[in-house]
Symmetry: C2
Subunit: 343 residues, 2 copies
């Protein structure tokens, strides 16, 4: 595959180092276990619709046992994003940990199959591959319960500095912030990326996760993040406000570029001077919203790393999100570059 084009390096103000990857993603490497259930099931199980809850082994077994037949497919937020970038024709790498069990092999296969350079980190044998039990309700909303397994042991030692240094963008998921070891890996990777003149981007991932670690997130956004992704809820959680406008003003003063998604209302691009709304691509029927934010980020980052203007970046994000919510599963079923021509 070709290296990123010259515009990228220019745009991102990199030094003389070669850019080998458009984007390196870093996150919890998970296999999704997707099942359909009623709203009543969420109530019975005490689940909050649309949220992500961390669960331990016992609860994972209990919840899985209560669900009907499920489908297993590779997931993980940042992992979905880099697969989306590869599907657009971008060059991507991924850092995340799996075990050498069946699910770990599935995860690694699905990464390599779409051409993502997968760095599995240092081997451990004491924890299984992480999995995310996703309950899809009839309204297509997904409620996630994550057993992190070995993915949560991602640490500084697992970060391949060369890969981070040679990636135009480092993209990290807020979910990593639930564990201190991963947080340290996160900060280390951001340092390496910046030292090489690259762009550090972050997705807030989940409003509950933001609330659990608000101070850390705020410090990170203010100090280290060049490009922030999040939805309205996550942004309000970050700045402890009910006012979207107030949150956007705070964001503008702290982060040079952010994109806030608003579901069917599209998104707004927030820069130092402007707030630019971009409409969403209409979708015939929403089947499963799993991966919507991940694929939005994929489209945006693909545009960003190929030198497109910000509105076009957002439109590419919207095209990718529209594809993934039209079917079950968090990764595209078609080559996204075939859809990019319409943008």
């Amino acid at each position: 595959m070709p290296a990123a084009p010259d515009e990228t390096t220019a745009r991102l103000g990199a030094g003389g180092d070669e850019v080998r990857y458009d984007v390196v993603g870093m996150g919890n490497a998970l296999v999704d276990v997707i099942a359909h259930a009623s709203d009543g099931f969420l109530d019975d199980q005490g689940l909050v619709k649309g949220s992500m809850t961390l669960i331990e082994t016992e609860r994972a077994v209990e919840l899985y046992g209560a669900l009907d037949g499920a489908v297993e497919m590779s997931g993980g937020s940042a992992a979905n994003t880099v697969c989306g970038i590869a599907s657009f024709g971008g060059v991507a790498a991924y850092v995340g940990k799996v075990d050498s069990d069946d699910l770990g092999r599935v995860f690694g296969h699905d990464m390599r199959a779409v051409g993502v350079a997968f760095r599995g980190g240092r081997d451990r044998q004491d924890l299984p591959t992480g999995r995310c039990v996703i309950v899809v309700t009839p309204d297509a909303e997904r409620t996630m319960n994550t057993y992190l397994g070995v993915s949560s042991t991602l640490s500084v030692d697992d970060v391949d500095d060369d890969v981070v240094a040679s990636s135009a963008v480092l993209y990290m998921e807020g979910y990593l912030f639930d564990r201190d070891e991963a947080k340290a890996a996160f900060r280390h990777a951001a340092d390496v990326s910046h030292r090489h003149g690259r762009t550090v981007s972050l997705t807030l991932s989940d409003s509950f996760c933001v609330e659990r670690h608000r101070d850390d997130f705020r410090a990170l956004v203010a100090e280290s993040v060049d490009l922030l992704f999040g939805n309205e809820d996550e942004l309000r959680a970050l700045y402890s406000t009910d006012s979207f406008d107030e949150a956007v003003d705070r964001l503008r003063s702290e982060c040079s570029l952010a994109v806030v998604t608003r579901g069917p209302q599209g998104c707004v691009i927030v820069t130092a001077d402007e707030t630019v709304p971009v409409e969403a691509v209409p979708v015939d029927e929403v089947i499963d919203t799993t991966g919507a934010g991940d694929l939005f980020a994929a489209g945006f980052l693909h545009g960003f790393t190929t030198g497109r203007d910000l509105v076009t970046c957002a439109r590419l994000g919207s095209v990718a999100a529209a594809e993934v919510i039209g079917h079950v599963g968090p990764r595209p079923l078609v080559e996204l570059h075939t859809l990019a021509g319409h943008v």
Copy 2:
């Protein structure tokens, strides 16, 4: 769940024993690994479209490596059938072998989740759970490559005689006939079933499998099978003839009841005196034919074990097959009993 209704026992001519299951299925317990690929991929890999090929570990790794991102879901021919029966509201059991690995747990979960009594057979630790790598081409046809793993070690010792004795119908897949141990288990189960006045049914599974074991299949059909399922190709392979009519005549003389599926042309019911054609339920868009035959058998057997006339049995089969070919994956995504009302 309720025991099978009185009509079943009466219809099936059982003795005084209680019927606890409408159907017990027996087959290769497999997890499907489903990926999409072009016709060119089949050519490159030397695969014959629509066939099932047995593969060993090395070939499984090679083939899986050559495929793009895949989805894992429970499969196995007879396993799909009993899940379909449960989805219609029937009471079903299943005998098949998995390992205690991730894929084995997935298989067991998906069985129990839909209420099928799953008998995993005696434990072994030396072979992994079997898997079927399914390549779906743009014409929705599936080409299967099966690594049998522990599923192929199904033997007489794994058959729970009590379950077979208390099931109105024993349903077995022809795929079992590829290994001698399984063949013996098959014959043993048929004997137990008959000794208790039950119905023994078989699906021919695959024309290549029939050709590999033609004499055994013919002997079995003539001596032990009360209800045979197969498609046109399989039937012609069974009687080594190009003439469908000739094959049907042979079948009529050897087997008291058979149903031959003809894809979009529906099926024909073959009894001693009659050949009754039944039209297929029209399908808007065929997405993936995996499980079509398995679910046809599910609908037919559900009708059969609830005392419906044979044409209605075939229509129920057609309804179930239509549901499963409308999406990716070999098992129904909706409760089939909700569709049965239209029949």
